[in-house]
């Protein structure tokens, strides 16, 4: 499959996920170390994760959906934080392709992702534009 056909084969409206994730202490600690998060207040005082520590999972969902995807490079990233994510809780991330286009020879995908808790409450809404590279 060529790069064009791989990109062209992705339908607008395609849904990906849900990706289930448990925000246990080890998972949170590992992510905080990776991003050099120093402010202990959210975890120690409020028992919640710092903002955005699950956003890297959005790319993971795409790689799971498209085995021939080699690289996904963010061009634009928008996020609305609605409710904290509790340490120890389970979350579910669902994404959907809402647009795609070609600009200056590059293939762009626009996706929306929603992160919900076990009760189905939306915690985070995201819209991301990324370059699709086979």
């Amino acid at each position: 499959m060529s790069e064009e056909s791989g990109f062209e084969a992705i339908p607008i409206g395609m849904e990906m996920g849900p990706l289930e994730m448990t925000l246990d202490e080890d998972t949170v600690a590992s992510r905080l170390e990776l991003i050099q998060w120093e402010n202990r207040e959210p975890v120690d005082k409020y028992g919640v994760t710092p903002p955005g520590i699950t956003i890297n999972q959005h790319a993971r969902i795409k790689f799971m959906a498209w085995p021939d995807l080699s690289a996904s490079i963010w061009a634009k990233s928008e996020h609305e934080f609605l409710k904290p994510m509790k340490v120890g809780s389970r979350i579910f991330i669902r994404c959907k392709i809402i647009d795609k286009y070609v600009k200056r020879g590059r293939n762009y995908l626009v996706s929306e992702c929603e992160t919900v808790d076990e009760a189905g409450e939306v915690l985070l809404r995201s819209r991301e534009t990324s370059v699709y590279v086979k």
């Binding site: 402010n39 990233s77 934080f81």
Partner: protein, 132 residues
């Protein structure tokens, strides 16, 4: 303690946050933009630090400023420009208050946010807002 506690005016810059960028290099990374060979083939200086990691640095600055309110009312929109960030780059996140608007539940501060590297080149630019 984090969170806005003093009066704020438009034109004010919030406290910046500097990090030495780091992303674990895995030659077998699924996203090959995080491998040296592929990134250099694209003309980059080396494996790129992940965009979500750079975003986390900006979010760190915003959480330090807005505190818990960011987790309920924070909005951010950023674009990634320039040649990206590689391990060892010293990057600083900035935020400048551009508007203060009344909103149900408080006052929403709007900011221009950006990240620049040790050479002063902007690599992330965008906007953020949060109720204070």
């Amino acid at each position: 303690m984090t969170g806005v506690t003093k009066p704020v005016r438009t034109g004010e810059e919030i406290p910046s946050l500097t990090k030495t960028a780091y992303y674990p290099i895995d030659p077998d990374a699924r996203n090959v933009i995080h491998t040296d060979d592929y990134a250099r083939d694209l003309g980059m200086r080396g494996a790129l630090v992940g965009g979500s990691t750079l975003l986390s640095y900006v979010l760190g600055m915003l959480y330090n400023y807005f505190g818990q309110k960011w987790l309920y009312h924070g909005k951010i929109s950023v674009s990634f420009i320039g040649g990206g960030v590689v391990n060892g780059d010293v990057v600083t996140s900035h935020g400048l208050v551009t508007a203060i608007e009344p909103e149900e539940g408080g006052t929403r501060l709007k900011l221009d946010v950006w990240m620049e590297n040790q050479d002063g080149a902007k690599i992330v630019v965008g906007e953020a807002s949060c109720i204070r």
